[in-house]
Amino acid sequence: MNDVMSRFKEVVENRHDWIRSYKAESGRKIAGYFCDYLPEEVLWAGGLVPVRITGGRGNVVAADRYLQSNVCSFARRCFDQALNGVYDYLDAVAIPHTCDVITKMYDLWAYRMPTPEFVHYFWLPHKVFTKDAVTVMLGEVKRLRSSLASHLGAEISDDALKEAIAVYNRSRNLLRKVYELRRSSPPLLSGEDAFAVSLSSVLMPKDLHSQWVEELLKELEGKPSPLADRPRVAVAASALDDLEIMRAVEEAGAWVVADDVCTGSRYFFDRVDESEPDPVKSLTRRYLEKLPCPRSVDSLTPRYDHLLGQAREYQAGGVIFYILRCCDAHLFQYPLLKDRLEKEGLRTLYLQGDQTVGVNEQIINRIKAFTEMLST
């Protein structure tokens, strides 16, 4: 593994230690947020480093007092870690209304966690693609800006927002380039590596991350692939915050060449329009019109178009769905999405996800069987 790739992986594997040290060295404040619908640029413009709150894998003990087992393991793990003090480095928390369970994260954080002082609830419409949604989303982006400014005791200017947008767009462009390295056959880098770059981008400051990505691109672009040809797949997942599934798929003998994941393509594919003079408006539009989470209304067709388009462009023969148990938004959409993709000749595999356990033997065997099927 090259040096820069090992840095991305270090951030992913030791995310909390890494950000703690970074905070101590840089003196920057850290803001935690959930999901990919929160306009992080506002937090960045307020001088905070936004990092995604993630669950990782492991037991849930402390959070069992607050959340039953019918709540998705991602949320239970996140809150369990919060209760265990893992997130005590956060100076602010912002939680959007993406689904019932993430909404509950706000209640629990606001009422059961002593820190941080700033805990903000961001209401997000479901009908993201409608005209009416723009007015309410504009209001919420403005409210986030003003409540954070009042907490910080300093105004968040339009210029600061525009700068933040530029920082984030740069990151988006670079992450796209990394993902595009898998267009060739064989790909220039593995799916696990590409996803490690994307996932680490939500766990560390964008400016530093982009520097690293530029280094990586310099090393890889224009070079021949060190990898061998293999069957190629796309991964569609609900919350995916570690490398386990990508690793399992590739150890089983396939390459992951594309994804529909909120810490992957869905996070960075869409840019904010920098030609729009009002940064609040451009942020509002971007976060409403982005590649949708299935929680949004009318998200089936854009997700289908994205997955099919990616599969065609990157020559993937199958789609692996990794859906966390109890994730209603994904589970309700899955039968229709699967059906449509199969009608287009793609093969699909459904895996039930659970962050309280590792990727077990049974899952690995099913991936192996699927990969073998793709080879025939």
């Binding site: 019918n70 589970l331 309700f332």
Partner: protein, 438 residues
């Protein structure tokens, strides 16, 4: 499952039917049957459109437009109490809806995939011309309604209602109005755009009805229906006010049964007549101090959806001289709130928790039954927090009872009964030292 096992399951379901105590509430079964038998809904030449509609969507605009509404959640309860839920649950599972998903949604999806069969309980819901749902109560329904829209190929309207938590870290104070809507707070003062958005969505709902029905809304009629519905609401609140009395003149076994006209046909003369008579009966019982059991030893709140295939469970407490006095999922609002002798420190962390805390105090209860349906996230994500808050703020014990609301195979009778028996012992002790009566 073999035919024999299936028969046994159905028989067991029948044994678990609830017993109603009041005279007026005995009429409900026929009212529900008549509602499903409406010819106009099944005869396309009648000119009446049919909507499948989610609970908490305002019914009055549909009534004003002559739209006949059916409620997939309510139909789930019909299938669970009157028929064979497995037929549809199995079909949904074959389609890809797993057992961890909403039981109501699985029943309806199975019913659709079976082709809306006429031999379904009560003849089934007539084929809809439109689907309407709101984001209030839960987000899952958004996906469920979209799925039904795809399967039935009919237009869907999703009415968004921004539910906002209270400002800051303090406990929520909730108004009587919020209590009536199960603690849901729409919009917030510091976020007026969310309140405005709810208004836009209501206007969008009216426009959607006008488009599907191809006629304008009769606003004069709508105002009249709204007035009638408000009167029915007021009567229902008065009934709930009487239920505070000790002994309670009406418990939840009757209340769950009697909610149909209020929830599904609120602005109609039938609902008005039904609740007017029910109020008279409850009032008379209250004045004559006629309780549900001869000697009321303990009082309970029910939080969450009951297990519809086993409404007899609520009567079980009566065998032990206790009563489930009030429930919080279907609007337990009384006209006055608060108790002069015991104000909780805070009303819990959000509307849903607060509604249980408040019901315990207002209705002089000694404990709470928190139903826990693992397939439902929205209502049950709060239950542990409700349990914690009841104990922290009031020292009130509660019991989490786990089962799906419509899938009897998830119900473990022996285990449930032994847990209930143990809980009753705790509650009886608590009742002896009931503090808020002093």
């Amino acid at each position: 499952m073999s035919e024999k096992n299936k028969d046994q399951e159905i028989k067991q379901a029948n044994r678990m039917r609830g017993k109603k105590h009041l005279k007026t509430t005995q009429e409900i079964s026929q009212i529900v049957k008549d509602y499903y038998a409406q010819r106009d809904a099944r005869d396309k030449s009648s000119g009446h459109k049919v909507a499948w509609c989610g609970i908490a969507v305002p019914k009055q605009p549909m009534q004003a437009m002559g739209v006949i509404a059916y409620y997939p959640e309510q139909y789930g309860t019909v299938v669970a109490t009157r028929g064979d839920p497995f037929r549809f649950l199995r079909r949904a599972e074959e389609f890809g809806l797993t057992r961890e998903m909403c039981g109501y949604a699985r029943i309806t999806t199975g019913y659709i995939l079976e082709g809306l069969p006429e031999d379904a309980p009560l003849g089934g819901m007539p084929r809809p011309d439109m689907l309407i749902v709101t984001t209030a109560v839960c987000d899952t329904r958004v996906k469920w309604w979209e799925l039904m829209g795809e399967l039935l190929n009919v237009p869907v309207y999703i009415m968004e209602v921004p539910e906002m938590p209270p400002i800051g870290r303090k406990g929520a104070t909730i108004s009587g109005g919020d209590m009536e809507t199960a603690g849901i707070q729409i919009g917030r003062k510091d976020a007026p755009h969310t309140t405005a958005f709810a208004g836009m969505n209501y206007a969008g709902y009216i426009k959607f009805l006008e488009e599907v029905c191809q006629k304008p809304m009769d606003h004069k009629r709508l105002i009249e229906i709204n007035k009638s519905a408000a009167r029915v609401s007021k009567i229902r609140r008065e009934i709930n006010e009487y239920r505070k009395s000790i002994p309670t003149p009406m418990g939840s076994a009757d209340a769950f049964a009697s909610m149909f006209p209020g929830m599904y046909m609120p602005g109609t003369p039938l609902a008005d007549d039904f609740y007017t008579r029910l109020r008279a009966e409850v009032k008379e019982r209250m004045e004559k101090r006629i309780g549900i059991v001869p000697e009321e030893k303990f009082r309970l709140v029910w939080s969450g959806i009951p297990f519809w295939y086993n409404m007899g469970l609520i009567n079980y407490f009566e065998e032990r001289n206790g009563v489930v006095v009030i429930d919080t999922a279907y609007g337990c609002a009384a006209q006055t709130s608060g108790h002069p002798h015991r104000e909780p420190k805070k009303w819990g962390m959000n509307g849903m928790v607060a509604s249980v805390v408040k019901a315990v105090v207002d209705y002089n209860c000694d404990g709470a039954i928190l139903s826990y349906t693992p397939t439902c996230r929205a209502l049950y994500v709060n239950q542990l927090e409700t349990q914690n808050t009841l104990m922290e703020e009031l020292g009130v014990p509660s019991l989490l009872l786990e089962s799906d609301m419509v899938d009897p195979s998830s119900f473990n009778e022996a285990q449930t009964m032994s847990r209930i028996d143990a809980f009753i012992e705790v509650v009886e002790e608590k009742a002896k030292r009931r503090e808020w009566l002093k």
